[in-house]
Subunit: 116 residues, 4 copies
């Protein structure tokens, strides 16, 4: 059986687009503890430009960045294990809350709740 | 009211992740009519590695690439207006078909159908 | 004839790496006039983390971003025509100044001067 | 003292641009042993589109990709430690050979030789 998508399904689709965009646009960016603040702000504001995006919070974890840095290099490349992300997407009045955190050693993007 | 996500909503979220990933990983890639085939294959196989991705089809349109190329440069940068993408995502038996094509001059990512 | 690279050649190589990195890391980022400031700062600080990079200045041009935005979308994707970049690279005491600006309608990365 | 760049310096600058472009365009791409071939070809052909690029060879190492993959995920994200790259750049008759390989545990981009 095939159905047209509901507003809640559309909202989940839009939420996924934002997560994939944020991750693959910025993965690989050179980052050090001194540059986490500016990168967090830029990532949140960049993805916040996309439609249906109510808010985005990006937390790049200074201590994990510091641990990931080799002495000779002085920077790490941004990857999922160095950050936590939360977003709220609104599609025609249906809101979706999403989150990326580490679970069992891996970054996982999750639908937290659908709110009508 | 807040509900835990259904399988169909999870499938839509996963479908969105794949679209955002594909777009922002590869946007900006130098492309010419001679290199569209290899880029299409690489994009489809790369995103096909992600979980729940049943198949991916990427069509980079040679004629649009040719039109986008300036004589002096010899290549264009990949963007949404130069390609059409279709994907089928399966989450626990619920399948989602999605598509990106041009609509009114802009590339649009769409949920085409949810199949239980 | 083949020679080992001089410090000036190494400096030019490093300068090119920074330009290619900056461009292809951030090309495609969603941008609006309200988010140019945070993106400029993040780009400059990210690339500034790389070795031999003395300073980086990124200017994303609000008026060009505004012109590139379609009413329905509300954002543009970052590309070379929307920004001007200057960098100073130092390799073992040899400095290289570089710049990307528009020339005849296209963004061009240029070596401006080599300073010993 | 400031001098205008020589052809050899320009060639080194162009070589650096290609390396930075290749790295930051494709870092983060989902990759598995089954998809290394298509990604290698696409990377080489994409960067080969850029001016002054005579040839590019990308070798994504299947065994390192396999080692980098977690069982639950089934794929790794492309990064410098998973690949070896060689390029030959020609600028007005001056050729530059460059290479990225692992040195002491880190990927290093190197100028191998300048050939007049």
């Amino acid at each position: 059986m095939s159905d047209a998508p509901t507003d809640a399904q559309q909202a989940c689709f839009e939420a996924g687009i934002k997560f994939g965009s944020l991750y693959h646009q910025f993965a690989g960016t050179p980052v050090s503890p001194a540059s986490t603040d500016s990168l967090e702000t830029a990532m949140a504001e960049a993805i916040g430009n996309q439609p249906h995006c109510e808010w985005v919070s990006v937390d790049i974890l200074d201590d994990r960045v510091a641990d990931a840095i080799d002495h000779d290099e002085g920077y790490a490349e941004l990857t999922g294990s160095l950050m936590e992300v939360e977003m709220r997407i609104d599609y025609e009045g249906t809101a979706v809350r999403t989150r990326m955190t580490m679970e069992e050693g891996y970054p996982r993007m999750r639908l937290v709740a659908i709110e009508n």
